[in-house]
């Protein structure tokens, strides 16, 4: 009975629920306001449950074996000899096809044949009641013959002359991360991805072949289905250096493939925006044939990777007493043995001491889930792909979270025999809930840093404890209060849409026209509560901010493509076209204060509006481009590209620029002298050279002399805001790439190696100008930076048996970044960083030391300038944030229906300035108190402080405890650490139910899987996580860790079903 009930439920689900769910989804998208439709979510959860549970009750069947014959061919109907045919689940029954591609095997009608051949996609076919089974195997897209998306067109990989890395949908789908860029980590050589903060939905940094820019952006251009999108942080909300991520507006599961264009041959067609590489994202499209309904979901839990262990109250008091005793020995003071605990009025041995573990109070185990429905299919004339998804992530830190609901429709239609028409539309809504973090006075993590364990989170009356009533100087407000009571929401609605038409004009010649928009409407809402210290200190009675950003970008592109082959030897593939893009952005912001109570957070109830403003800005780009590929006899490949870009951002004298490239490749395996060898299936040396630009990250009106508006006595005033520079133009990057693509054993093993040297001139930098002009700097083209390095990519099928297979890919990149020329050398950028010729971007400049004196336990500071005083004048270059090498190692195993994927990712040789230690390794230094009367240190210490110097002769790198400031220098190399790590980034273990089984329960495919993210990390770094960067997207001051939200470890469970 129960079995029947479930089967019925399934049939019902199959026929009805899907429609209902789609209807609900469609309805909910129109209704969705701030919170998602909870009914819908419940429905989806029920569906998921049924899908998982039902199969286990399905009845087993038994049938008679008989002889089955068949023919295996490729898509050109050529027979495939030597293909493997096995009965799923029975390794004893297997065969290979003969020279005509034919096979014979015994199987029962409910059994499944697995047909595989190297270089082709494996197929599984239910025998059913057929006696003859003919099978067509499709070429495996992973291999060199795959089609690769390039700028304004597609090419087969074998025809490429440039350096392009591809990442497939399988690599990025179903990972419990908010945005696709996070899923790229470790997947391709030359691509360095760092997640500067674990805040859900936070901005991610991607550098393709190094950082080319000092002040403009070093982020690549993102192009989704041909539309270069806005990828910057549009939020106006202050959250302490943690950018939002506009790429999180896209559903990663909609993506079919990602191409990363690296060398100039590939990127020059994107002209003044190509210098940092280009990420081409192609979304899924419908395939003609049977319609498919898919349901995917996963749900899991996240926790922080490496919680920092802090001292207990007893240890805290004992360390303070030790500090006094150490001072007695070293400085001749005469404190008692229990000097500090007596003054504070505690007995360290009191078993009833308050003992708050602050990190446990702000971090939690938090759920993350994703639910998605897709429908795709089509006829010969019309094809469609649609998806709806809901992603919900709670942050591991209290007070953070990210939600997204997104929908997509991709449509292709053949209107007449010469005209194709199509449209891509995606609409998303995201809600990001943040707290202030990083280096901010009222950040959550930063206020937790040295949290006094003697301080409770709540007082006995239930109110938040006030740190000013306790002994840590560092904490400015109770971090639990900040996390729970502050609110900071960024709500985004984004739509990206394209309509396009492709007209065949003549044989081989077609015209593609498209009109696209990228629209973002974002609002920020923040409230600082009355009970907060921030509000109380300023006597503001709560204050709030509301801001909006509307960005509207349109794009019109037209290009002609011509493909033809003459005399069997001369292949031509050419593109010429125009592109016009313009963007308009409007902002508004209102600040108000004086709220009646913390239950009201909308500005309408505030007593006083303190400021309100609206503004706007715009930019435009007019472009003309071409690409020509010529292949002679499938042996010699030539590509040339070029783009003319006119940009509104630049000075009158240099408004248009030309960005050409050229490349050559030689397919040696097609030469007659290699005809008789079988080792190499591909051997293709290639070389490219070209020029690209960078105009991002710079003000839209940076070239103009400007007066802005200010006020005095409530009267508007005019003030000079900018000096002019009519010569302002783009940064230009010249890149040489020499590489080779190798395929061996019929492409079972493929290998790519590249050497590149990338020199960026005319860097957009703030040029210091004499301050007597009233300005400290103007934006100008000065300076030069170089990135050069080697990249290696190997992938191969290591084992390929009937039941077990193992394939592996490995990539590693060695990139050296060097600043070659600056207008002013040795620019001190902040308290910890410097910019110097001959050094890389992100160089640390700190007070240095020679370790701890084993006799006194004091730091041996280096008096760099020899003036007898240790101060900021003694800083020197001590390291940098650039890794020596980085990469990834991916392994896929398959055994029968099981698959296991493990991605390791590593970075070696970068330094991290663990600024947080300056707080939680204070070792008793009483910053504000008076040691003899009332010591008041920053707060508690981490457990590594147990390794501090205690007795003469101790060899350690942590100095003695002291109530005075002998050994503590905030900006010193004492906190500089090795940031290298090896990380098991993702592990996925999945099981695909066999077709015989799924067919019986009315599904086409059914997969269940478990996944872990960041499960293992090997590192010497002592902070919360080695993947940190306090100043997201400012590489100049990269590599600091100061109260940054850490990365998370996620364990999730998911299912994928297709009907």
């Amino acid at each position: 009975m129960f079995t029947n009930f479930n089967m019925q439920a399934f049939l019902c689900l199959k026929k009805q629920k899907v429609k209902v769910a789609i209807a609900l989804f469609t309805e909910s998208i129109s209704k969705t306001t701030i919170h998602m439709n909870s009914k819908l979510i419940r429905c989806l959860k029920v569906c998921a449950f049924l899908l998982v549970v039902a199969p286990f009750f399905a009845a087993d069947a038994f049938s008679q074996q008989r002889e089955v014959r068949g023919l295996v061919t490729d898509s050109n109907e050529e027979p495939l000899a030597g293909a493997t045919v096995v009965v799923s689940g029975d390794t004893q029954r297997g065969t290979v096809t003969n020279s005509s591609g034919e096979f014979t095997i015994r199987a029962a009608s409910d059994e499944v044949l697995v047909i595989s051949f190297i270089g082709f996609q494996t197929r599984e076919i239910l025998v059913g009641d057929r006696s003859t089974i003919n099978v067509v195997l499709q070429l495996d897209q992973q291999l060199l013959s795959e089609v690769v998306v390039v700028g304004y067109g597609v090419q087969t990989r074998s025809d490429l002359t440039g350096s392009i890395a591809s990442v497939s949908a399988d690599d990025i789908a179903n990972q419990p991360v908010a945005s696709l860029d996070a899923a790229l980590q470790g997947r391709a050589s030359g691509v360095f991805v760092s997640s500067p903060s674990g805040t859900p939905g936070a901005g991610i940094t991607i550098n393709i072949r190094g950082q080319t820019s000092l002040s403009a952006s070093s982020e690549p251009l993102y192009v989704i289905d041909g539309v270069p999108i806005i990828s910057e942080d549009l939020s106006g909300l202050f959250s302490g250096g943690q950018a939002t991520n506009s790429l999180a507006d896209l559903n990663p599961n909609d993506i079919q493939s990602i191409e990363i264009l690296k060398d100039a041959s590939a990127t020059a067609i994107y002209g003044s925006r190509g210098a940092n590489g280009v990420v081409l994202i192609t979304t899924k499209r419908g395939v003609s044939g049977q319609s498919t309904i898919g349901f995917n979901m996963y749900t899991g839990f996240q926790s922080i990777t490496n919680p920092i262990e802090m001292h207990s109250s007893q240890e805290f008091l004992e360390l303070m007493n030790d500090a006094a005793r150490q001072d007695n020995r070293d400085l001749g003071t005469t404190y008692s043995d229990t000097h500090v605990s007596d003054i504070w009025g505690f007995d360290p041995n009191d078993p009833n001491l308050q003992n708050t573990v602050w990190y446990d109070e702000i971090f939690r185990s938090a759920p993350v889930s994703n639910y998605e429905l897709t429908a795709s299919g089509g006829t010969d004339n019309t094809r469609y792909f649609t998806s709806l998804s809901y992603f919900d992530q709670e942050g591991v830190q209290l007070g953070t979270g990210f939600e997204r609901i997104s929908g997509r429709i991709n449509l292709d239609s053949k209107v007449t025999n010469w005209l194709d028409f199509g449209a891509n539309v995606t609409v998303n809504r995201t809600i990001q809930n943040r707290t202030i973090n990083d280096n901010s006075l009222y950040g959550v993590v930063i206020n937790t840093l040295a949290g006094d364990p003697l301080m409770p989170v709540f007082e006995d009356d239930g109110s938040y404890a006030d740190p000013f009533n306790y002994f840590g100087w560092w904490m400015l407000d109770n971090p639990v209060l900040i996390a729970n009571e502050y609110s900071r929401f960024t709500n985004t609605v984004r739509g990206i849409g394209t309509i396009f038409g492709v007209a065949s004009i003549a044989e081989g010649l077609s015209l593609r026209s498209s009109l696209s928009i990228d629209y973002t409407s974002l609002d920020d809402e923040a409230y600082t509560p009355i009970i907060s210290r921030e509000s109380r200190n300023a006597q503001r009675n709560g204050f709030g901010n509301y801001g909006t950003t509307q960005d509207f970008t349109w794009l019109v592109e037209n290009y002609l493509s011509y493909v033809n082959t003459f005399a069997d030897q001369h292949s031509v593939n050419a593109v010429v076209g125009t592109s016009f893009q313009a963007s308009n952005r409007e902002f508004s912001s209102i600040n108000a204060q004086g709220f009646p109570s913390d239950q009201f957070t909308k500005l309408s109830v505030a007593a006083q509006v303190t400021s309100a403003s609206t503004s706007g800005t715009s930019w435009g780009l007019a472009s003309y481009f071409f690409r020509g590929n010529y292949t002679f006899d499938n042996r010699y490949l030539f590509t040339t590209t070029g783009r003319i870009d006119g940009s509104s951002r630049f000075g009158d004298n240099f408004r248009y620029g030309f960005f050409p490239s050229a490349s050559v490749a030689w397919r040696m395996t097609n030469e007659s002298f290699m005809e008789n060898q079988t080792l190499f299936s591909e051997l293709k040396p290639r070389i490219s050279y070209g020029l690209t630009g960078n105009q991002e990250g710079i003000g839209n009106f940076a070239s103009r002399g400007l007066f802005g508006v200010s006020d005095y006595r409530a009267t508007p005033t005019l003030v000079p805001t900018q000096l002019s520079n009519a010569n302002l133009t783009w940064e230009s990057t010249r890149q040489l790439d020499v590489g080779v693509d190798v395929g061996m054993f019929q492409d079972r093993v493929t290998f790519s190696a590249d050497y590149f040297i990338k020199t960026t001139d005319d860097l957009l930098l703030n040029r210091l100008v004499p301050g007597l002009s009233g300005f400290s700097s103007v934006t100008d083209n000065i300076g030069k930076v170089e990135n050069k390095g080697f990249e290696f990519d190997v992938r191969g099928v290591i084992l390929s048996g009937r039941d077990f297979s193992w394939s592996s890919s490995f990539n590693i990149s060695f990139i050296r970044n060097t600043v070659l020329e600056l207008e002013v050398n040795n620019q001190i950028l902040n308290d910890s960083h410097i910019l110097s010729e001959g050094q890389p971007i992100g160089t640390f400049h700190l007070i240095d030391h020679r370790g701890v004196d084993p006799q006194t336990g004091n730091m041996l500071w280096i008096d760099e300038n020899g003036d007898g005083v240790i101060d900021s004048g003694d800083r020197r270059t001590v390291g940098n944030a650039q890794p020596d090498f980085f990469g990834g190692w991916n392994n896929s195993f398959a055994y029968k229906g099981f698959d296991l994927n493990m991605l390791f990712q590593f970075t070696y040789g970068n330094d991290i300035f663990n600024h947080s230690r300056a707080s939680y390794e204070n070792l008793g230094w009483s910053r504000i108190g008076i040691p003899g009367i009332f010591p008041l240190p920053d707060g508690n210490n981490h457990r590594l402080a147990d390794n501090r110097w205690m007795e003469p002769g101790d060899q350690t790198d942590i100095p003695r405890a002291s109530l005075t400031n002998l050994n503590w220098r905030e900006y010193s190399s004492r906190w500089l650490e090795d940031g290298s790590y090896l990380r098991l980034k993702t592990v996925t273990l999945g099981y695909n139910f066999s077709p015989s089984f799924t067919d019986r329960i009315g599904m086409r495919t059914f997969r269940v899987y478990m996944q872990g993210q960041n499960l293992l990390t090997f590192t010497n770094y002592t902070g919360l996580d080695p993947e940190v960067n306090q100043n997201a997207r400012n590489p100049l001051v990269a590599g600091s860790d100061f109260g940054t939200h850490p990365q998370v470890r996620t364990i999730s469970f998911g299912i994928n079903v297709e009907f």
């Binding site: 010469w418 005209l419 007209a503 004009i505 015209l511 200190n537 300023a538 019109v556 037209n558 125009t578 016009f580 893009q581 303190t610 400021s611 706007g616 800005t617 715009s618 930019w619 435009g620 007019a622 006119g646 940009s647 509104s648 009106f701 103009r704 002399g705 400007l706 007066f707 802005g708 200010s710 006020d711 005095y712 006595r713 409530a714 009267t715 508007p716 005033t717 005019l718 003030v719 000079p720 805001t721 000096l723 002019s724 009519a726 040029r767 210091l768 100008v769 004499p770 301050g771 007597l772 002009s773 009233g774 300005f775 400290s776 001190i828 308290d831 101060d871 900021s872 004048g873 504000i928």
Partner: protein, 447 residues
């Protein structure tokens, strides 16, 4: 045919679109070359000079507070190294405050330069306030140069070559390539330029009274102060006397009332006006943060019964200056006020005559207001300077005077126990890097 028409329409569309994507204009800014066109825009630019005085590195916080932090009135217990360095007395050439102060003070100079150069040429018949605008511009330039000289120059040594580079013209075309690389003028030449600007200003603004801008009396009061610093005691006496006797000002009776308001008072000669909507950072830095906490040395120096003891309030472990206690940062900065004029007249009288008791009445006037008894006559000049410094310290603390007073009255080494070369702050590192002709003050590093 159909194909052809589609092709034609597409081509046409492309050309129509391409026309204007590159013509964008800022929405919240004006092109610098067309900013000053008539009387109204001249007036707006003039007020712009005041809003540039309001910035945090200048009167909006650090310039107002640093002379106390660099001396013995305030102490650093906060977070920012820049203030720690000022407090320690050993200011490196990379110090953030001096770097930003230099630029922001010169920004005010440049606004004044633009007005001085262009206002006489503006063709606008309705521009009735032309002389006032021009006069204010000269007075503002004098104020900015005097502030620059006090921070970066040897204002205490008229014979010194370490005055300020004197930029007196606007930057041509606002083009950064045309910024001149000026040498430093001597201290005497710098004083001469400041006084000349003030004389011009006073001539242009006669009868113009407004205590929220640098109007006639502001220029006279500033000239009193400048002359005092320059050692022109007779002139300083005359100007201070003029303001006290002929100006429309009166001492506020209760010293609490002087700072218990965000509006100008009867004592205000020039208040830089702040409000809820146009905030300074003075409350932020004195009450909310700990960069400029009151040094107990200052409160200890207050005599018993001095009502000015009420100008301090104890909050969060330190005394805080009531002068900046408006939580919306709306306290006006009293750039020039009548109380200081009495103290200038007293000091000028004494040093003009070398009679230690020539300025006793004016000192007592200020003491009287604070509820203190009159002082007995002094035996010598030294005794007078002690009393003068005491009075200036208690009266004008947290208003930007203490450090300069100790320097010019030659008590710098005694009171602060520092090397004499630190009487002037260093020329910022950024400026030395790009201006070959700019010379560092003696004994400071050049890079």
């Amino acid at each position: 045919m159909k194909k052809l028409s589609i092709l034609l329409i597409t081509t046409l569309a492309v050309f129509l679109i391409s026309c204007d994507v590159l013509d964008t204009e800022p929405q919240a800014s004006l092109d610098a070359n067309t900013a000053l066109t008539d009387g109204a825009s001249a007036q707006a630019i003039l007020l712009g000079a005041y809003s540039r005085m309001q910035v945090t590195p200048y009167y909006g916080a650090h310039f107002t507070l640093s002379p106390d932090l660099a001396a013995d009135n305030a102490r650093y217990q906060g977070f920012f190294d820049s203030q720690l360095e000022v407090n320690s007395g050993s200011v490196p050439i990379s110090n953030l405050w001096i770097s930003t102060a230099w630029v922001n003070m010169y920004r005010v100079v440049n606004i004044a330069n633009l007005l001085i150069a262009e206002v006489p040429n503006v063709t606008d018949d309705a521009f009735s306030t032309r002389d006032r605008v021009l006069g204010e511009a000269y007075a503002i330039r004098a104020l900015a140069y005097f502030d620059l000289l006090r921070v970066f120059g040897y204002h205490f040594d008229i014979a010194s070559p370490y005055g300020m580079p004197l930029l007196l013209e606007p930057i041509e075309n606002n083009d950064f390539n045309l910024i001149p690389d000026l040498e430093r003028s001597s201290v005497a030449a710098t004083y001469q330029q400041i006084l000349s600007d003030l004389n011009t200003a006073i001539g242009l603004m006669e009868g113009y009274v407004n205590n929220t801008v640098m109007s006639y009396w502001g220029a006279v009061a500033l000239r009193a102060r400048v002359n005092l610093y320059a050692g022109n005691y007779g002139d300083a006496f005359d100007d201070a006397d003029d303001v006290i006797e002929n100006g429309p000002f009166a001492l506020v009776e209760d010293v609490q009332d002087l700072f218990d308001t965000t509006s100008p008072t009867s004592e205000s000669i020039f208040d830089l006006v702040f409000s809820d909507q146009d905030q300074s950072a003075l409350y932020v830095f004195t009450f909310q943060r700990d960069e400029y906490n009151v040094d107990p040395d200052l409160t200890d120096a207050i005599e018993p019964d001095d009502e000015r003891a009420g100008l301090f309030v104890f909050e969060r472990g330190s005394d805080r200056p009531v002068k900046w206690s408006n939580p919306n940062n709306a306290n006006n900065v009293k750039v020039l006020r009548l109380g200081e004029m009495f103290l200038i007249r007293s000091e000028a009288a004494v040093f003009d005559t070398n009679d230690p008791n020539a300025g006793l009445d004016d000192l007592n006037e200020i003491r009287d207001r604070a509820g203190l008894d009159d002082l007995d006559p002094f035996a010598d000049l030294d005794e007078y300077v002690d009393a003068l410094l005491q009075e200036r310290r208690i009266e004008l603390n947290y208003e930007g005077h203490r450090f300069f007073d100790l320097v010019r009255l030659d008590r710098f080494e005694d009171v602060l126990n520092r090397d004499a070369f630190r009487r002037a702050f260093p020329i910022p590192r950024d400026e030395l890097q790009i201006q070959e002709n700019l010379v560092q003050n003696p004994n400071y590093p050049t890079e």
